[in-house]
Subunit: 458 residues, 2 copies
């Protein structure tokens, strides 16, 4: 098919949906460091993790050797409701940029949750249901993950308790309502419903909340109730595993048309989208079968890869979760108040951290005003209003395409467009009104935050 | 292909996109009544209409005989950015309803404007650009049309001035921001920027605005400035023509899989979506080639087909537009304040009014609490958060599917899912909180409104 004209949108058929997720760890010679029990400093056991996570997900979290893991029929059935997602040739953006580059994006916003998060939410809800649980708890910041999980739980008839970072709960009432429409209960965090919430409120009564704090509350809510487990929308290796459906579909579609990307770009908060998009390409790279430039794009206001340290750290503010070795800004790090959207987690997926540390991928950071400028340009020509998170990838892709314009190179650029920005109009309004500002943490601020790293690193 | 398993989503290829719109009037023996000049009472001429609308659109508005009209290449190019739209087999909804009925919906919400309105917006913007105009003016209520037009104008580099019903402007700031992101100027209506706005404000200083009033302002803004024309998102025959892309794609997809709908359902405000969806099916019906039950669904709070009269009426409150013969509640009619979402226009497309009058289609009205109940059920199982407008069609489709459950009939039901409800979360919140109410106008209210009909009917 390689001589065929590439359509604007490449849709695979249902039969071409991947039947297995790809576990990139199986092909990594040096694996990510193991999760540690914060009390003992020893690698966590499946039994210990089983108090927090569903059994099957614990297995996936700890499995470093099985390259392909079957996607259960029930999950495939749900995937068919909104997948395969389109791989779009950005003809209009190319024209607007007047670049010889060929730009493709994999669009994950075409489902009601509005983002790629649903790919893992449905898997996690399925395993919880299969284990006979009553429900799950989670945290959400910008709200994409909470929305996706609410939708997934409603599908399987599971109870869903969402702890939503207080500032988002107040600023994004519509996100909250979508979750409620799907039957979830949504609690602003910190709250008086948990011990850790009470403790944080006693110390900081005026806090706006943070993702790390909401995680702690959700974990407590799960472990203190019969029949509940905690689920997480990013960072974990199990989440990256489920998200490989993005990359696998992309690779199938590109192979079908004989397209080989030179550069692969994704935004990176906890790493779920980037990890999922690049997985099969990284697999080829690890096996020496192909080479690709792979670029993680993070906000300059929360730069874990570009300015963080590679160390063991707490995954949550309450310090109840296992320690993970990752690129981190320290669990005490809080992005500045003017930071819009997601990508505000202090750390990065262990898998991506290790791949980055091995020099197998690059990272850049971008400032948010430039990100919204790219978002607006993209919206106007491509007809999709992108989420602020996704727009980080757009910005980097546009920059690469403009370099091609200078050099005349016809590079093929692939990026992940993770979601839509319908619930981020406050941020767009700030941009439209010229009131958006940028913030880059100082070295001193980062140093203070690094000081919160656990002693085990010393 | 008729024995093939029907996939969850049927996507046509780009090559299968219709190359022509279908003008159903060409196959109507009795045509819709002509538009009249409100001053002279005589049929309007192309020249008169040319002061308000673009020349090519005037031609399309008045053309009752050409069955197929070529879609210009530039519009086809834009269509490819988001079309063909999916025809979805609602397997999950069927299962949830436990019905033997086969339910299909054509989903038009997969573009940033969030609805089918873009199909006509891009056509109208194209013809305005081709005529060398500087820009266009329009009104918007719920905001779908204004968003779509902003997007279309941004694509062709046209200025776009939107008069937004004041209550929506205030209650839907995010819709406004999407329009601004696409570069449109958005003015709350009534405003002091037009004579008609000033007059209405002088008489009713506390008014919330209405669609009819916003139309009057937009028309004045277009006709009082060099290089501007007015564009409208529904009601007009030209709009129904552009929207036939919905029905043509649907028919192609159904024919491909050997599916024949027994019942075709669409929500109806001004009629653009319903008219577009049913056009090719109605064409067969008019030619005696096939029979279909066709059902228009309207809100009980704004029941133009089910409780209106078939008469000449003003299209706008300011009475500056041509008179149109249509099912109408009278141009003075205002849906009650608790009415959520669109479908609030006092009249109905002349084409649909005539087809309804000839008994070629049915109409039902539904109350909004029941509509949101259906919307929530649909969202939970089909994974799309529907617009309140679209949910009227869902409600009627669910009712028909439940009838099939009683009788055991395996009917095939097709409905139009016009858009997503991301900007309607206030209404969903009211429903979630049990605060949504219904309203049915009394006969006395309607009679008072009928009294505003022009004398020409007497």
């Amino acid at each position: 098919m390689s001589n065929e004209k590439i359509p604007y949108k490449i849709y695979l058929s249902e039969d071409e949906l991947p039947k297995q997720w790809y576990n990139v760890r199986a092909d990594m010679k040096k694996k990510p460091a193991p999760l540690l029990n914060p009390g003992t400093g020893m690698p966590v056991t499946a039994e210990e993790l089983g108090h927090v996570f569903c059994d099957e997900l614990v297995k996936q979290e700890l499995d470093e050797t099985t390259p392909y893991i079957d996607i259960p029929e029930e999950i495939l059935g749900f995937y068919k409701m909104y997948r395969p997602s389109p791989l779009v040739r950005a003809y209009c953006l190319e024209k607007a940029l007047d670049t010889p580059a060929k730009i493709y994006y994999k669009f994950e916003g075409n489902n009601t949750s509005g983002s790629h998060k649903l790919n893992s939410a449905i898997a996690q809800a399925y395993y919880a249901k299969k284990q006979g649980l009553k429900g799950v708890t989670t945290e959400t910041g910008a709200g994409q993950w909470g929305t996706a999980l609410s939708m997934a739980c409603s599908y399987f008839g599971l109870d869903c308790k969402v702890y939503m970072v207080k500032v988002s709960y107040e600023q994004k009432p519509f996100r909250r309502e979508v979750m409620r429409t799907y039957g979830a209960s949504v609690t602003p965090s910190p709250s008086m419903t948990t011990e850790v919430g009470k403790k944080i409120l006693a110390e900081f009564p005026d806090t706006n909340g943070s993702l790390g704090c909401a995680i702690s509350e959700a974990v407590e809510a799960a472990t203190s109730q019969e029949g509940y487990r905690y689920v997480l929308g990013s960072v974990l290796s199990q989440v990256l595993l489920h998200q490989t459906v993005i990359g696998l579909e992309t690779k199938t579609a590109m192979d079908k048309y004989g397209i080989k990307p030179d550069i692969i770009i994704g935004c990176a908060g906890g790493g779920s989208n980037l990890g999922g998009l690049i997985a099969p390409f990284m697999g080829e790279k690890l096996k020496g079968k192909a080479d690709y430039r792979i670029i993680a794009v993070e906000p300059a206001s929360c730069p874990s890869l570009t300015r963080g340290v590679y160390a063991y750290d707490f995954c949550d503010t309450g310090k109840v979760c296992p320690l993970q070795k990752m690129y981190t800004l320290g669990s005490g790090f809080m992005p500045s108040a003017n930071h819009a959207g997601g990508l505000r987690y202090h750390g990065m997926s262990a898998i991506l951290s290790e791949l980055y540390d091995q020099g197998l991928m690059e990272a850049v950071s971008v400032e948010q005003t430039a990100v919204f400028e790219a978002a607006q340009k993209f919206a106007r020509v491509e007809g999709i209003l992108p989420a602020p998170e996704s727009s980080h990838a757009i910005k980097a892709a546009v920059d690469e395409a403009l370099k091609c314009k200078e050099t005349g190179e016809e590079k093929t650029i692939l990026f992940g467009l993770t979601g839509t920005g319908y619930f981020d109009m406050y941020a767009y309004a700030a941009y439209n009104d010229g009131k958006m500002s940028d913030y880059i943490p100082t070295d001193e601020e980062l140093q203070r935050s690094f000081d919160t790293l656990p002693k085990i690193n010393k």
